[in-house]
């Protein structure tokens, strides 16, 4: 832990010094909610309903896109070389990838909470009678995204390759999960297939909490995601190679 804290602190600071990542997780995500919500407003009873739908689905999209934050934090060109010094030190080992994963989680989670508050205050998006439960359930989604990104780097040994592959995977899961349009509208088979996407599980749980004050999906989704995170963490430990930094 003594070794871990300085590395973690440095990783968090580096992320908050990265204007591109901050913009991607706030301005870009917020802009997307505004534009898609406004454009699709006619498809809903009210424009505010469109904002409600896209604020939730695009927040879930943002949490899963945390995979790209993690790949950036893990192996981005400018920080790869100083990270090599961490590998050289006695602290170099599991602390390296674990720190990147958790720092990316803290970064994404903080920015998405800000985005959530802005959506609530500026667009009138509601998060149910228990917004705290909503925020708590975002945590495993955020951690799943960053664990996926870290796992991708450990397995693929390259930031560029991991980012490319994971952005495709996340986009596919999001389209399948109903981020941009409801899969139920496309009929029975598509709706059934969409249940395979964890994005759909989170979307459904968040909509139930926000619109119906229904918390019944909270624990199944929370625990299911925790198991997936544990699998990814074990995978990172297994596949991480210090020579990937050379």
């Amino acid at each position: 832990m003594r070794d871990f804290l300085p590395i973690f602190e440095m990783d968090v600071r580096n992320l908050f010094r990265n204007p591109v990542l901050i913009g991607y997780n706030t301005v870009f995500a917020g802009g997307l909610i505004l534009i898609i919500g406004w454009l699709m407003g006619d498809s809903y009873a009210r424009v505010s309903d469109a904002y409600q739908y896209y604020a939730i689905t695009l927040l879930v999209y943002g949490t899963f896109s945390g995979a790209m934050t993690a790949t950036n934090c893990f192996m981005e060109r400018d920080i790869k070389k100083p990270n090599l010094r961490i590998i050289y030190s006695p602290a170099g080992g599991s602390s390296v990838w674990l720190s990147k994963m958790l720092a990316s989680f803290v970064f994404d989670y903080a920015l998405h909470i800000v985005l959530l508050i802005l959506c609530g205050t500026l667009l009138g998006v509601t998060f149910g009678s228990n917004p705290l439960a909503f925020i708590v359930l975002m945590a495993p989604a955020e951690l799943f995204g960053t664990a996926l990104g870290t796992f991708g780097c450990c397995v693929l040994h390259s930031e560029e390759l991991a980012s490319t592959v994971l952005s495709l995977v996340v986009s596919l899961l999001c389209v399948l999960g109903g981020t941009f349009f409801s899969p139920d509208a496309l009929g029975g088979p598509v709706a059934t297939i969409s249940l395979l996407s964890p994005v759909r599980w989170f979307d459904d749980a968040f909509f139930a909490m926000a619109c119906d004050n229904d918390l019944s999906s909270f624990w199944p989704v929370f625990l299911g995601c925790s198991v997936a995170i544990a699998v990814l963490v074990i995978g990172c430990k297994h596949f991480f190679r210090t020579e990937d930094y050379l």
Binding site: D3, K81, P82, R85, G92, Y245, L246
Partner: protein
């Protein structure tokens, strides 16, 4: 004297291409051991294995008599590593970089403060301590790169071509700092393909080529190993009226080979390099052989044995080929 670091049978292949072929060597406490070799000789692979960043296929490394795998953490605590590339956070100040990297070695509080001050002084960056690294010149970054590796007072400093891409003046500054480290009792392993650096700082030299150690010893002993030869450089005046320079020079070569003790002759432009067996007085014969072919001699010098010659002799090629 007992070795600080002992390497035995280090072997490494990448995709079937053998990069290290069972190399072994010892590092004596307080010495500067230079690993010399051309690009692709296996220097960086050796360093990466010594720093425990890359796993060897076979072989053993012992530090202080114990296998490093027994307590990798304790081994790493004793190491200071200067990588070939600048490994610094560009957005942070010099002091912040030093503070962070030194803290990874367990330094805290007043010990950390003192270590950072000392490292800043070593790198001569005290007055630029608060400036972002990205505002530094190449030489300043190189100095800080070294300072970050030594702030925690390691027993063994491993430097992988730390002077690549910097001008000779700044290179000398870095070489002086390495000698200061040595004088302070630190052991240094230094890889390079600059012969003059080896000449300036080495206590001992390992010549690595194609993944194998082809020679090992002090500067003097390596030179001694080829002291059985003597080089004579002769600058001739090739007359403008000579219709066929090649024919003349070929005749000169043949005449020189008939001189007692001459082992080899190489001709580059108007300069003839004659290698003879040491101890045989054949200068008169060499002069006669050249003048006899109608070529006046402009200048003639006997060349002392250099490390460059040693390398050429050992590998059959120049270091930067």
């Amino acid at each position: 004297m007992e070795s600080l670091l002992s390497v035995r049978g280090l072997t490494k292949s990448f995709k079937g291409n053998q990069v290290l072929c069972g190399i072994g060597f010892d590092v004596i406490p307080g010495e500067v051991l230079c690993i010399l070799g051309p690009n692709g000789a296996g220097k960086s692979t050796t360093i990466n294995i010594l720093t425990a960043t890359l796993a060897a296929d076979k072989g053993e490394i012992r530090f202080g008599g114990k296998p490093i795998t027994d307590n990798l953490r304790a081994y790493k605590q004793q190491l200071g590593i200067v990588p070939q590339d600048i490994a610094l956070y560009e957005e942070l100040s010099a002091e912040r970089n030093l503070r962070f990297f030194a803290s990874l070695y367990g330094l805290r509080g007043s010990r950390l403060d003192a270590a950072v001050e000392e490292a800043l002084a070593f790198a001569e960056l005290v007055d630029r301590r608060h400036d972002q690294v990205k505002t530094f010149s190449g030489g300043m970054k190189r100095r800080l790169n070294i300072a970050c590796a030594i702030a925690h007072h390691p027993t063994l400093v491993i430097m992988d071509e730390p002077t690549v891409g910097i001008d000779p003046q700044r290179r000398n500054h870095i070489l002086e700092s390495i000698l200061r480290l040595r004088d302070g009792g630190t052991t240094v392993i230094y890889t390079t393909h600059y012969m003059e650096e080896v000449g300036a700082i080495s206590s001992r030299i390992i010549v690595l080529d194609h993944g194998a150690i082809i020679a090992e010893g002090t500067k003097e002993s390596l030179k001694e190993s080829i002291a059985s030869e003597r080089h004579c450089l002769v600058e001739v005046d090739v007359p403008e009226t000579t219709s066929d320079d090649t024919t003349v020079l070929r005749s000169v070569r043949e005449s020189l080979f008939s001189v007692d003790g001459v082992k080899s002759v190489s001709i580059e432009g108007a300069t003839i390099d004659v290698t003879s067996v040491a101890g045989i007085e054949n200068v008169d014969g060499i002069v006669s052989a050249i003048v006899g072919q109608g070529l006046p001699i402009k200048n003639m010098t006997s060349v002392p044995v250099s490390l460059e010659m040693v390398f050429l002799k050992l590998t059959g090629r120049k270091l930067r080929d």
